[in-house]
Symmetry: C3
Subunit: 423 residues, 3 copies
Amino acid sequence: MSATSPQRVAIRDLLSQYRPGRALPRAFFHEPELYQAEMDAIWWRGWLFAGLACQIPNAGDYFVYEVDPDSIVVVRREDGTIGAMHNVCRHRGSLVATRPCGHNKAFVCPYHQWTYALDGRLLAARNMPAGLDTSRLGLRAVHTREMEGLIFICLAEVPPDFDAAADLMAPMARPQGFRSARVARVLDYDVHANWKLVWENNRECYHCDACHPQYARANFDRYESDDLDEHISRQIEAATARSQAKWAEHGLAITHPRGGLPVFPDAEGTIWYSANRTALVEGYITESLDGRRVAPLMGDYTDEDVGTLRLRTLPNFWCHASCDYAVTTRLTPVGPRLTRARATWLVHESAQEGRDYDLASLMPFWRLTSEQDWEICERQQRGVDSRAYEPGPLSKAKEYNLESFHRWYIRRMAEQTSVVHEV
Amino acid sequence: MSATSPQRVAIRDLLSQYRPGRALPRAFFHEPELYQAEMDAIWWRGWLFAGLACQIPNAGDYFVYEVDPDSIVVVRREDGTIGAMHNVCRHRGSLVATRPCGHNKAFVCPYHQWTYALDGRLLAARNMPAGLDTSRLGLRAVHTREMEGLIFICLAEVPPDFDAAADLMAPMARPQGFRSARVARVLDYDVHANWKLVWENNRECYHCDACHPQYARANFDRYESDDLDEHISRQIEAATARSQAKWAEHGLAITHPRGGLPVFPDAEGTIWYSANRTALVEGYITESLDGRRVAPLMGDYTDEDVGTLRLRTLPNFWCHASCDYAVTTRLTPVGPRLTRARATWLVHESAQEGRDYDLASLMPFWRLTSEQDWEICERQQRGVDSRAYEPGPLSKAKEYNLESFHRWYIRRMAEQTSVVHEV
Amino acid sequence: MSATSPQRVAIRDLLSQYRPGRALPRAFFHEPELYQAEMDAIWWRGWLFAGLACQIPNAGDYFVYEVDPDSIVVVRREDGTIGAMHNVCRHRGSLVATRPCGHNKAFVCPYHQWTYALDGRLLAARNMPAGLDTSRLGLRAVHTREMEGLIFICLAEVPPDFDAAADLMAPMARPQGFRSARVARVLDYDVHANWKLVWENNRECYHCDACHPQYARANFDRYESDDLDEHISRQIEAATARSQAKWAEHGLAITHPRGGLPVFPDAEGTIWYSANRTALVEGYITESLDGRRVAPLMGDYTDEDVGTLRLRTLPNFWCHASCDYAVTTRLTPVGPRLTRARATWLVHESAQEGRDYDLASLMPFWRLTSEQDWEICERQQRGVDSRAYEPGPLSKAKEYNLESFHRWYIRRMAEQTSVVHEV
């Protein structure tokens, strides 16, 4: 696409419709060309959360992650590291791994049995000429980073820096013990809404009081600068003081000792990762319906009073973690009006269902919260499709993170469509 | 879209393929660009039948009508009048009314609880800056007219004249008592055919003999100039004479004392509304399978011999009404090859199911006739999609209303794509 | 479409991406514009297998074949010949035959009862002006050829030569007795893959060993030049010698006395038809799971040792036939990523289910083989949609027929998009 190609000009025209402080313009939520430009500028360039190392504990274990239109296989290699590669045979293009997850000693294409090592090297291609240069016919590699048991991939040839993200997030994530976790349950959702609506929904708690009664009882982040009364402020202070005293012993720290959501992305829209630890409301040891613990302690925790740990990376990941369980959420667009969301419940690897936890207690808090959000987003999609939709004003007190998301988004999109970057 | 934009030129090229006296050309039934141009020229500009006032008898009662891609909420206001507005929150665009119909004291957006009065005014937007000019953030208004209990809306900024339509139709509709009606049943259909095929099907009775055995027995309109023999003519005269003698007492009049369908639209293709009263075949008091009454008299009728009242407005409404019940049909395009049709059976508001009528007698006549027509249209859609389809000759005697529909259609489309209108 | 129209240029650009000796480029498997160009250059121009004469034994018997976007009715006429015509009424375009197959004395349009003779002539159009020239309003004819009970149609105005195909195939097909066959069972499949993937899959047996265990046991064509060891070669020689001795008596001949698939299309990519007879593996009298006969002998066969007869025509037909049964496979594209496949099992017309054969023995061999192939193709489609797909090298020994298919395909496509043909 040249700098002045009609598509690029059309995308720039669309981007120029954006007005800071307002919701995104209508076309942003359904134009197929813009969706393609987003895939190119954001989803095929940035780091994407793919899944968890504990899903593939042994060499040869794999799972498949589909990012429109690609299929990527994430695998534990012989040396114990995790790698990812395109799930496309170098012969005639068949998928090589055909199940969502499994275990293989090698990847054998089901069509003509071309055989690839766990690191993607082509080991055998029967009936091909002897001179075939198999060294150039391995499964195409995908950049991969494992960070404390969280797996990220990047589909770009040259990935953006990951180290700064790891520097910030890894120390926060480590005590949670994602590496020594096990998957208690996975739920996949088709959310009939543009991925940006799903993301925006996650970045404000303006809707929490009315839409998330269960969540709102356990968390302080529903209170922002404009409605933090003295009573609540004192509660937060008390919870923070109590927590900090205890947590310091365990090397933990409250990084967000306030109500409201942490600012993310940053004001300039350049930072795509975030982590914070926050106190929960008095009486809530974990994000469960009654606030009581629902599983054994995870990771390095020796005390249940560790508040709530939040991790998030743009464009597709957030995680809420308490002393006893964590839920990762992975977003993947499937078209302008469809986003696939996967929620994965994690507990300590030694916890046994029935003995140490049961799903009926473990799941409802986040299941309800997630499903309430999907419904919200689907209703919003139907509204923003209307010709009558006009971007309304955002609340400075409650929706500041939408503005920073928009800045991040516009910056990413502009970089890829701008003439400046062509020279 | 400028007068010489490529889309506009392409639409004009398509329109120029039309030949009077023939069916419409193939592209008219599936080209997405033409469909969009029709939405713009016809569906988003003209008056559309939306529903019935008796569906929303009390202040706060509402129903939602979706016209691709818009969602409109039609509501009874505090002052008893009926209004319509776009069902799109002025904040971030969520649908405000989320159910097909219901009752609200105010419309509270399910996302952030922005609250709108029944007339659309923004009453409350919590957590927004004090200086917010709420007077400019009401739900966007949609033009609405109630005519004798029939509700019409117009999505254009400046609607076409409605008064002439009301002047013609209201006196004809009044004695039927749509205002004092109640809904006995609603059926929604997805008809897999272009809306123009559905409309054309309704505007000729050339197909009635073979396709509508039930309908054909009760009605004279199957007989046109070319097959009205002396025997039938005498029947029509007798029925008309008998009716007129009785009806005059009650202020009713036969306006179409002939066989065949009334001419509609007019020869110039300018008039989009029509009403007529016609005699039924001897032995048919109403449009029921055996001709006998199936419900109490409606409206002002004091005698069951009132023939059949027909109302219709382009592009989306027709109604057949007898002494005891009425059925309104509302069409809505959902794409080039899909039309949603809603049929609503009405009886007197005091009639009680089980006591005064039962659906097993009330519904079959129009249900059969409607479903026979949908099947016809779906078969025709599959045929006109074929590359082999060529517009065939229309019967002058039987299909004159298709020609006038085509004139009306071409005129509407040309107006919106013509350079003349640009100056 | 002019020689320099943007679409044509875009198609030529796509075609130029093809590299001989490799799989087809990615865009070939999903671009809607290329799909349309293929329909135009190949599917609406070439001869298509439609079905079997034995499906419509009596005058007035018909079946419908849908080739995107057309609907064609294939019918046995009064004079016993088979004809085909577009299933589109010349009045307003309704389908005329509304069921997949049936029997009619005449075709009466279900809309307004325009009535067509079995040869398509318009017999009656009631209520039309007396002067209507009905001779120009017959159902539009489709070129038809019956060859030994196999029916081919061509949607082009001027069809390519069929005689050379008949000259080659008819003598080979005759003893199989397609004319005196009956349909034992029809299975329709929606294969979610581009039609070219389905075709390619049929043109190589590189995948047979691993994917078709049942097929591979019965056939020699899995062995190509690179893996035909002495042991197998001797088996083929023995089977061929034995067969030729017996078959000569019956006027049959082995035309492919080797392992591997016959070359088809030819090296120049010009010949679209093919037929051959080959020996089966010792112990296999027919293509059944255990090699034993599953139905009475078909056609002129007096001995069960007749090997396997293969017929194929580009772009949509193959047939495997043994002494006792035959299966025809008909492909029809429904979009870039969807191919409809119909498999039809044939036995001798006098064979009775339950007495002479049962479906549980007759069907599994080809049903398994077919369904294994559809699964392969669907996995491949998902892989070639990936951005990571690159056309890999083909095996010279095993995939030579893909190269010749590509040549045939590129030639057909280039002819229709080349400037040379414009002058």
